[in-house]
Amino acid sequence: MTDVAVLATDQLPGGAPGSWSRGRPYFVYALQRLAQAVLVILLAYALSFVLITILPGNAIATVLGNPQSGLSPAQIKHVESYYGVSKPVIVQLWLALSRFVRGQLGVSLVTHQTVTSLIGGALPYTLKLAGTALVVALILAAVIAYGSQYLPGKWARSVLRAAPSLFLSVPNFVIGLLLIHEFSFQLHIFDVLDPDSPVGTFFAALALAIPICAPLAEVLIANLDHESQQEYVLVARSRGLTQAKLFARHLVKPSMLPAVTIAALIVGELMGGAVITEEVFGRNGIGSVMYQAVSTQDTPVLQGVVALATVVFVVVNLIADLVAPLLDPRVRLRGGSRREVAAA
């Protein structure tokens, strides 16, 4: 693995993949991992609450104190008692956490809608964008990795090898603006005013996917490098397997496992990047809800979006951690019912 990949896998929330081989049966590991995920989600919610509440600009008071907020004195009183504004921070935190556990995220200070309905309305747009971007990123990474191994010509291969580090160096808003400028203004392939059209969605997803596919491509390249030096590859080749068959039958599977871990990690970047991409392409979605919430200091909405992103991120990583031992016999739990295999 390259060092970037190592650095990336270092960032696993809650326990690196090494933590399962402690002689525990799988279901104990799974339960512990689940409990840890729940704890981390609650702590993260508390942390974002504390950050938003105690930092200098007290947003709720600012918004409520603004004569243009359009709230009657009775409504202001109601909002104040709902959030417990006059109570100590620890009580407010308790109120917020107990509502969060029950699935209530509060009410927007600006539009007076519930945060859950605001987010629910915007979620499909972001799912469409982020889902497309994830697929595009996976395909891009696979193409780069395959090409870096088998493209004819050393020069072409080294260009592809350099691609991930170039992609990592370009901010995604720059990519988005370049795509809009070239493909919408110059070539008229899509209309920026209709960002939700399939082609518009594709280009927005591409802008989001390019920086995100870089770590994935790096890991795949490193794994393919490692696997192609193994002896079984030589054996397979001497049996007369073609390049493509060798790749599909033997090399893809062992290179996948670390990729699953990285793919789970990039979900976090997808959600951060969605804020910028939706803004650049003028799309609706969670990102634009958050953008508006930040500019109007609408803290319940901001916190709701952050909570949603945290839950998604933690759950996806939980799934990746739970699936990993099932995918690779080498990292199966020792002492479990399965055959023990020494980790290579």
């Binding site: 270092d10 901010p171 910028i276 952050v306 945290t310």
Partner: protein, 283 residues
């Protein structure tokens, strides 16, 4: 004790320098040149341009790039190159602050967790898990919203969002060294904890932490630019690179207002990432 700090013989110095330069690939040398130029820009912008970055000049609106105006001029007739040069400080200098915060706070957390262990490790471990659970860019947005929109606050927010990564690496490095034979023998010979820390643990950890710091410098520049792009940095007439791109996007007929600052951001981050990669390879 004689205090003989004679200046090194120049011959040896040049030989050493030649050795260093032969080992360094050309792309890394070029990267260092780019980084040095950018750092000079942020320290002494006056060296690079005589144009003002803030004063409007209506007679020179929207001029395309030329020998007088390398990156063209903007909607108020200001020289875009001058704006970029004066924006280097708030774009790159603040990234240094961000990395400093992450390095210092994260390093301390990781050091305490790995070196003290026990319940300190357990508590700090949960804190790091919590910080990692919030997607980094969203965490930065939350912090900058709390602190108020300003480039320095954006840098602080970026630093906070990178604390956990540094803490994790530092802890891993400390754990790696902690159980080695030479550390145990150092304890056996009567070395105090502080002695072992400064003599063995930190010197062994610093290379990989340094490589991460350089890598994080590149991503901090991108995050700060993204925050500025969204308008969470200092307002105009500040000329943070991200803000320049955001301003430039309104003028489709003057694409140089986007391309100029965008190319500068990409070149800078690319150079920093190249140096980081080289540092890790030579580890």
């Amino acid at each position: 004790m004689s205090i003989a700090i004679a200046p090194r013989p120049t011959r040896r110095f040049s030989a050493a320098a030649r050795g260093v330069f032969i080992d360094v690939p050309l792309s890394v040398l070029l990267s260092f040149v780019v980084v040095i130029v950018v750092v000079l820009m942020s320290v002494a912008p006056g060296l690079f341009t005589s144009y003002s970055a803030v004063l409007a000049n209506p007679s020179t609106k929207f001029l395309a790039p030329s020998a007088q105006h390398w990156f063209g001029t903007d909607n108020l007739g200001r020289d875009e190159f001058a704006r970029i040069v004066h924006g280097a400080g708030p774009s790159v200098g603040t990234a240094l602050i961000a990395v400093g915060i992450g390095l210092f706070a994260g390093g301390l957390i990781g050091l305490a967790a790995g070196f003290i262990g026990g319940w300190v490790d357990a508590v700090l471990g949960r804190l790091v898990d919590t910080l990692l659970a919030i997607p980094a860019f969203l965490l930065a947005v939350v912090v900058v919203t709390g602190l108020g929109f300003d480039t320095l606050n954006a840098a602080i927010a970026t630093g906070v969002s990178s604390v956990a990564i540094f803490a994790r690496l530092m802890r891993a490095e400390v754990m790696k060294v902690r159980h080695t034979v030479f550390v145990e023998s150092s304890y056996l010979q009567g070395g105090s904890r502080g002695y072992v820390l400064f003599r063995h643990v930190l010197p062994n950890a610093y290379r990989s932490v340094l490589a991460l710091a350089v890598l994080q410098l590149g991503s901090a520049i991108i995050v700060i630019a993204a925050l500025a792009f969204l308008g969470y940095g200092s307002p105009p007439p500040a000329s943070d690179w991200g803000l320049l791109v955001a301003d430039g996007q309104s003028y489709a007929t003057a694409p140089w207002l986007v391309y100029g600052p965008a190319i500068v951001i990409v070149l800078t981050v690319l150079s920093i990432n190249r140096i980081s990669r080289w540092l890790r390879k030579t580890n």
